[in-house]
């Protein structure tokens, strides 16, 4: 696998330099300086989602509703570096606005694995967390997730240059209208319909298909892990607690020893809470990559769609050329309705034929242009997608390794606490 990755990297470096200067209709930002880390938004701007608040208001259908808004704070890195310590610029955003931004990015950059948002509703519920969207723990974790989303987008070599992102961070009012004005919604709808349809591609891009399968696997594995109900064993001390409390009530000599053992167990139960917090954090990391897997799949799928459209356009061109040939030579190659009617009713007048031929020529010229464009689009999509996939892969390997390390550290912490509490209890028992 490593061999394939390395080879491809070299190919991409060659291709990328060719594409950077290609004026793609998909890139809407004219001041595009993509590819270089130095221009990354995050380096110029400190971004933070610092608070959450409840608001009430009337929604689109004039119904009273309660929702949460998040405080978005930004500061110029330059000013911070100069030691000015300026106060942050802030604005409030709802979850739905984040969603809007993300949808915009997905449509505008179909070849990028777009960072995911925290879940809309609490799905995989571990431990005490409730499924209520208003629950303060849920809101808090969502706040962190939203900040994480912004940080990832703002540090992405391509996405960070997006104008709409900048406006999202700085323009409280009127941002939504701006986004809608780009007309991305229409594109989104048509693409969504197309993606949901089943279609078969004749010559699929092998590596992207492999990547699609990989994303399926990643999705499956992360969701299986998230569905596991209990991850840590904390029952042992509970047994002891029950036993101690039952006994100490009736025993005279044994009473003290058992009671103090019981106290240790109580302390253990509280200290475990911190560790369970870390477990939730691990779950959040898994959730992020579960969503990332979906985003990855979408990129592969979109290429498939492009490829399919290309194949359709090519096929159309071929059939038109065939028609032209038939008209020009009068020979019917394959069985066609035209051929039949010709035989039955006789051929048409030469003027009509010429008009038809001219029309066909026009269509063919258009078709050839379309195929050329589509081919270029497809190729570009593949190359850019692959570049981002490589970037994603490195990020994923690093992030997940970090997550596994934290998970292991948490387990060790648990074990140490377990040993401590049982050692304390043992001391109490010995004194009985």
């Amino acid at each position: 696998m490593t061999f394939i990755w390395n080879n491809l990297k070299q190919e991409l470096i060659k291709d990328e330099s060719h594409i950077i200067h290609h004026n793609s209709s998909l890139e809407q930002n004219p001041s595009n300086t993509n590819g270089t880390e130095g221009s990354c938004l995050l380096r110029r701007m400190e971004i933070c989602v610092s608070e959450a608040e409840k608001r009430s208001g009337r929604n689109a259908v004039s119904m009273q509703e309660t929702f949460t808004v998040y405080l978005l704070e930004t500061r110029s890195m330059e000013a911070i570096a100069e030691g000015l310590n300026p106060p942050p610029d802030c604005l409030w955003r709802r979850y739905s606005e984040f969603e809007l931004l993300r949808n915009y990015l997905i449509v505008t950059y179909p070849y990028i694995v777009v960072p995911p948002l925290p879940e809309k509703r609490a799905e995989f519920v571990w431990h005490k967390l409730s499924a209520d969207n208003m629950d303060p723990d849920f809101v808090e974790r969502r706040r962190i997730g939203l900040e994480n989303f912004l940080l990832r987008v703002a540090s992405h070599p391509v996405l960070s240059n997006e104008e709409m992102l900048y406006h999202f961070l700085t323009k409280e009012h009127g941002w939504k209208e701006m986004v809608f004005e780009t007309g991305f919604q229409a594109k989104a709808d048509s693409r969504l319909r197309a993606l949901n349809a089943t279609f078969r591609v004749r010559s699929p891009h092998k590596r992207l298909v492999e990547m699609k399968h990989y994303s399926d696997g990643l999705q499956s594995h992360t969701s299986q892990l998230l569905r596991a109900r209990t991850v840590s064993y904390t029952n042992g001390p509970t047994v002891c607690m029950c036993l101690c409390s039952e006994w100490s009530a009736i025993e005279k000599e044994m009473g003290d020893g058992l009671q103090s053992a019981g106290h240790h167990m109580d302390a253990y139960a509280t200290s475990i809470d911190d560790i369970l917090e870390e477990e939730e954090h691990y779950a959040d990391q898994l959730k992020e990559y579960l969503s990332y897997a979906e985003a990855l799949r979408a990129v592969c799928r979109k290429h498939e769609l492009s490829q399919f459209e290309l194949e359709m356009a090519s096929q159309d061109l071929v059939s038109k050329k065939q028609q032209r040939e038939e008209l020009a030579t009068g020979m019917v190659r394959t069985f066609s309705l035209k051929g039949m009617t010709n035989k039955l009713f006789g051929q048409e007048a030469p003027e009509q034929r010429e008009a038809k031929l001219n029309l066909l020529e026009e269509l063919i010229a258009e078709g050839e242009e379309a195929v050329k464009e589509k081919t270029a689009e497809c190729q570009e999509h593949a190359v850019k997608a692959w570049a981002d996939i490589l970037r994603f892969k490195d990020q994923k390997d690093k992030d997940l390794l970090e997550a596994l390390i934290s998970y292991a550290l948490m387990q060790i912490s648990m074990c140490k606490k377990g040993i401590q509490v049982w050692s304390n209890a043992r001391e109490c028992f010995l004194k009985m």
Partner: protein
């Protein structure tokens, strides 16, 4: 309590104690068991077809063994903390139950256990014995003890009946648990200042063939007088201390029931958790298969989860094999103690009834209070004294038992966490090494 190899004392002279032969000893080797048992001992545990129930006597240098016993006594005193039956009294009777063997005959299949005795008491002809006994024999002994020493608390036996479909009577686990309980029973009896001198115990430990039917009639004389407690007497008032005993037993037995239920539930939860944990580990393994850089880290995590599963299984096994049986044993103990309390009440009731009758007659026609009534009073006082002494002893033993039980449980749990921690710590080293490796290759 061990039948282990004794340490030779350097100060005993040129020869090791084990080598000093008693002049009357016929055996050349010390402590060599008879042919039947040797044949069995070298082979695997469940060896069928042995001479059924034939006990074997061991003869061995007696002077050597006297010193031996003293040696072991020293050992015992040192190890007093671990041995709940170590007391400050000089111990001269040591018993062990071990070496279970399966016997198959045309009529039935059963297990026998080796019962080894070492003693310096004059009540015993020889200083050492080794016999084979089956559960029935233990049951016989207990019944005899109960009958002949009704004023004392007799330790309980493990449960007699097991549902044949549910429990495998010949599984290693079941036999092991039962044997430990039988060993405890015998040790408790041997440790008791009165019960250990009971002639039935002597017969149990020494006789080649326990003739249960004869019942050793002569020896039950002591018990008979107590047996003939006339019924129909109602007890006026139970003395406060015995009331307290009764209440304590009731509450304690209730608590034990609750704890047993809690422990069962915990076991069930542990087993369910174990299943889930195994599935959880399997997901990491499967994921590792589709990854490149993350393959070894993920496999590492899967490995740690598997280790945790193994450790948890051990913990559960311990709970069901060591913890629960002790709880159940005490429930049985409490039942038999309540019986003794009831008997005591009966004896007291009889005395009070007779006394009342005698007093009335004395008032009527000046007949003096008959001797039987005084004898009854003696009986009552004897019973009370015995019972009180046994109660104190029982409380002490109970405290030791539960102390050991709880400490044992703590140890096993610590062990569980230690095993898990070790696994995760070795994984962490690997993962962090990889992380630094990756970072350096990035900057290069």
């Amino acid at each position: 309590m061990s039948v282990g190899v004794p340490r030779g004392l350097a100060s005993s002279g040129q020869k090791l104690i084990t080598e000093i032969l008693h002049p009357l000893s016929a055996a050349e080797e010390p402590m060599s068991p008879g042919p039947d048992v040797t044949a069995g001992a070298d082979q695997e545990k469940q060896e069928p077809g042995l001479t059924n129930g034939a006990p074997v006597e061991i003869s061995s240098p007696s002077s050597a063994s006297v010193l031996l016993s003293r040696l072991q006594l020293d050992d015992e005193l040192e190890a007093d903390d671990q041995d709940p039956y170590g007391s400050t009294e000089a111990r001269d009777l040591f018993v062990t139950v071990d070496d279970p063997k399966k016997h198959v005959s045309t009529m039935e299949t059963y297990i026998t256990y080796r019962v080894s005795t070492k003693t310096t008491r004059i009540e015993f002809d020889l200083p050492e014995y080794s016999v084979r006994r089956r559960y029935q024999d233990f049951d016989w002994l207990r019944t005899k003890l109960e009958d002949s020493q009704p004023t004392h608390l007799i330790p309980p036996l493990p449960e007699k009946f097991v549902m044949k479909g549910v429990v495998d009577r010949f599984s290693e686990e079941f036999v092991e648990t039962r044997m430990k309980a039988l060993d405890k029973f015998l040790k408790r009896v041997a440790d008791h200042p009165v019960l250990s001198f009971n002639p039935h115990l002597n017969a149990f430990l020494t006789a080649k063939d326990l003739n249960k039917r004869q019942g050793l009639a002569l020896l039950t004389k002591v018990g008979e007088s107590v047996k003939h407690v006339a019924g129909g007497y109602k007890l006026r008032a139970r003395p406060a201390e015995f009331c307290a005993m009764g209440e304590y037993l009731d509450t304690f037995s209730q608590k034990l029931g609750t704890i047993d239920r809690i422990a069962q539930r915990i076991l069930k939860e542990q087993s369910e958790y174990l299943t889930e944990l195994r599935e959880y580990g399997a997901v990491y393994s499967s994921w590792a298969g589709s990854e490149e850089q993350l393959q070894r880290p993920l496999e590492g995590v899967a490995g740690c989860v598997t280790t945790s599963c193994g450790a948890l299984e051990d913990l559960s096994d311990n709970m069901s094999q060591d913890f629960l049986p002790v709880l159940r044993e005490y429930v049985l103990y409490i039942e038999s103690m309540k019986n003794v309390l009831r008997k005591r009440d009966q004896v007291q009731a009889e005395y009070e009834g007779r006394l009342e009758a005698a007093v009335l007659r004395k008032q009527e026609d000046r007949t003096p209070i008959p001797v039987e009534v005084e004898k009854c009073q003696d009986k009552v006082e004897c019973f009370n004294a015995d019972l009180k002494a046994d109660w104190e002893r029982w409380q002490r033993n109970k405290r030791q038992d539960f102390k050991q039980l709880l400490t044992g449980m703590a140890d096993k749990n610590i062990n569980y966490y230690e095993k898990c921690q070790d696994a995760w710590e070795s994984l962490i080293t690997l993962l962090q090494e990889k992380q630094t490796e990756d970072k350096t290759s990035e900057t290069n």
